[in-house]
């Protein structure tokens, strides 16, 4: 309910934020929307000594399209993504996050940097084959989505780095589907499946499938992608490919879902997401 004591600063520049983070030592944490960090602090599961609030840092808000790529500032809230239909599956996934209050405060950068495999955006970043830009004391670097998520709540971002931007290729010509399963609309995904399909005629030219909450990190369903790529797109081929959705996954059981049930859900949701992406109802 009440967090342990901590210091707080809200620098007005990116350099200031990086310096504050570096100066704050191992226990300093960045604060973006706070929707993951603050509950952990209130339950005293996290007790950072310093919070570096990014709210005053300029230049890390909003969406721009540049040379076929969307550049999304890390502090852009989910609600803005939700209202940007040009982002396709990203907009769709963002619109399914929790409730309007959370979407108004929670940010894309915060969600990706937290790396919760049950969150909606990480797996979507994987199938979009996007990247994140991080800035630290020694400059900036780009981390590809496939290299970002290392383990449960662990990313390739160094403790003294700030995620500043998310880059997503414009997925013109791709159909998408997003199927999130939860008990209540505001809950995290019990399992989620995101799909992108590029089709020529009725042939699946390319396909990407993302899995949410099927392991310690967001995953690509490689088996499904291999099974469907180059195949005709119809209900049967989709159903057959979707059978591979849980291949190689080992989702942990929780209060509401056993591992078996999660694997079953992955197959069902994969079939639905693919059908949606292919425009087959």
């Amino acid at each position: 309910m009440i967090p342990a004591e901590f210091d707080y600063t809200a620098p007005e520049s990116l350099e200031g934020a990086i310096a504050a983070l570096a100066g704050g030592g191992d226990d300093a944490k960045l604060l973006a929307g706070g929707h993951s960090l603050l509950p952990l602090m209130k339950l005293r599961l996290a007790a950072p000594s310093l919070l570096v609030d990014l709210r005053k840092v300029p230049g890390i808000h909003g969406i721009q399209r540049e040379n076929g790529t969307f550049r999304i500032g890390a502090m852009t809230p989910h609600a803005v993504l939700e209202r940007s239909p040009e982002l396709g599956v990203f907009a769709r996934a963002a619109g399914s996050i929790a409730d309007p209050q959370v979407r108004n405060r929670g940010t894309i950068g915060g969600s990706l940097a937290h790396g919760d495999p049950a969150s909606d955006l990480p797996a979507v970043l994987l199938i979009a084959e996007g990247s994140v830009t991080v800035a630290g004391g020694s400059g900036t670097r780009t981390i590809a989505a496939g290299d970002l998520f290392k383990d449960y709540l662990l990313t390739a971002i160094e403790p003294a780095e700030v995620l500043t931007e998310v880059r997503i290729p414009a997925l013109d010509g791709w159909g998408y589907g997003y199927q999130k399963f939860n008990r209540r609309s505001e809950d995290w995904a019990m399992v989620g499946v995101s799909a992108l399909i590029k089709q020529t005629g009725d042939i699946c030219e390319d396909v990407r499938v993302g899995l949410t909450n099927m392991g310690p990190t967001p995953l690509r369903a490689a088996g499904v992608e291999q099974a469907l790529k180059g195949q005709p797109l119809n209900a049967d081929s989709i159903a057959k490919a979707a059978e591979q959705a849980a291949e190689g996954t080992d989702p942990p059981a929780d209060l509401n879902a056993s591992s078996d049930y999660k694997r079953h859900l992955a197959r069902v949701l994969c079939r639905r997401a693919l059908a949606e992406a292919a425009g087959i109802t």
Binding site: I2, R44, R184, E186, L255, Y261
Partner: protein, 723 residues
Amino acid sequence: VHAVFTGQDLTDLTGPLPQAWVPPGITVNNPDHWPLAKDTVNHVGDPVAMVIGDDRYSVIDATEDVVVEYEPLPAVTDPEKALAGPPLVHESLGTNQSHEWSLGGGDLDKGFADAEVVVERRVVNHRTAGGAIEPRGVLADYRAGSLTIWSATQVPHFIRLFLAILLGMSEERVRAIAPEVGGAFGSKLQMYGEEVLCAWASRKLNRPIKWIETRSENMAVTHQGRDQIAYVKMGAKRDGKLTALHVKIIADLGAYNMLLTAAIPSLGAFVMSGVYKIPAIQTDIVGAFTNKCPTDAIRGAGRPEATHMIEVTLDQLAAELGMDPLDIRRKNFIPADEFPAELPIGVVYDSGDYDKSLNKLLEHVDVGAFRREQEELRAKGIYRGIGFSTYTEICGLAPTRVVGPEGFGNQAGFWESAMVRVHNTGAVTVYTGSSPHGQGHETAYAQIVADKLGVDPSVVEVIHGDTGTGPEGRNTYGSRSLAVGGESLAKCATKIADKAKAIVAHQLEASPEDIEVSGDKFAVRGSPDKGMTLAEVAGAAYLNHVPEGMEPGLEATTFWEPENFVFPFGAHACIVDLDADTGKVKILRYVAVDDCGNPINPLLIEGQVHGGVVHAIGQALYERVHYDEDGQLVTGTFVDYALPTAAELPSFETDRTVTPSPVNSMGAKGVGEAGTIAASAAVTNAVIDALRPLGVSYINMPLTPMRVWEAIEEAKGKAGVAA
């Protein structure tokens, strides 16, 4: 930080926390329950230390430094295993059984001998939380030998009494105030340890002590509800006529008996007949201690469990007989011309017309069209189901002969008090001994009094929840506030009206019998312009312009107790779609027809029905308090304890029939619990109806997606074996 106390410090309390209501005629094992554990902690959340400081921040930091060295003991969380024990929750008792109690009537052996069909089901009614949006909060201020305690409670009068006893204080020195309380649902009908501790520490430290519960504490320490396993055996003739019902309930009481813990399942026994004429009936209850938070009254308290047992098992019987679930209900309804209806167990239902409410329901739900649609949809792989619940409940908790010392062992009477004070200007202040916590009593009570006195409700102020202002009271629970407290007010306002009539008659030289309330005047019958407003009457009363021998002033007090409970009833229908691939249930329609006698305020009734139905839908589909085998609470937050939100719920369709109660002059019955009592069975029956073509004919709550999916898979497996 000013002080840290543990159970060993509580040497000057006169005793442990009270158990106030127990089933009559039996001995109930009642282990000591201290506000702070003395040597053994019996459930997660059993408090061990109290830290007192200047602000919440420093106190919560300091609690991190309280190091408790626990010696782990074996735990038992399943009540059936507990009864087979060891391990024992309380070694000193030598058993995990709290008590056994039975209520029956009619010849059970004959009833089952007469039966041509018998169905038996194990009906699990899992544990739920109250989940009031405002957690508890206490502020105790002991000074100059007197204690004032503010608490988010339903029962300030009980708290004053018990605090006086436990602290060894004279009762007039204790004042308990329940300010506006943000919901309770029974969870604040309790004498909690935190209330005792704040008062005790305030006296000890000579300063006010405040405690505000966190949500995490609320989920672990505030009493919980339900948690019964029932073995239900129902017998009938081939034509569907019920011959006997035998229910064995194993009630999981948690670690201690609190204020009403042991009595809750017995409330279910009172309505185990439901709305049906069953010649022989028996309810056997065994209470079991487990290493869980105590259970006690949560909205409906025993009656939702009973209704669920009857209504779900009746559908099972209908399926067994190949009968329509509505036909079997109609066949067994207690006929409208038999009210007041005395049941074999001795309970007398005050009024009812069950065909009428079911007919009204069917005006909203075209079952024939639904069945055709259901058939068509099944062909397309869509599984739609409909479920019904025709229910009654017992409420308006009052008659001392039943709940007092000769009945349920509470050393008190169960009247309610009212005081009406008309001011010089004709404005009215009303004091009630009931203690609302969000239901809208101020509105309904003001209406009742305004109606009797010919004034606008806006000039009627309702004061409640303060033992220092009004008369002694018996507070709010068991849907008693209107049927007992409201009637007491009506009677009190009638006394004022009678006095006003005498004053008006005296002033206008008319006969009191000829004076009536007409618009905003007490007027002479037939001459509506010849009269006095309440303000003019009050003016006369306070100027002592009253008839010879009459006291001046315009104020009255009433204590009133009804002869019987009241029995609201109704018919509910639920329509669901089931996603057979995932097991997820979606409610498409929920239609509720309720009869709570004469309505006082339709909007308040509507609100109670909506909230009550949500409460039960929550239990049926979403909510569950769960402890693992080691006794760890795994649903300690609202992330895991899944209260449904507006997004999960349909727009409710409600309607009413009106069958007045003969028990009070208003003809009114309670409605605060009705929706909760009715709805879990309607939802469960609808889900089972949807599941039948998939080979699933029975399933227990909570109907979570995984459990529904597992039931479907299991049925597929069996079908595979059979093939």
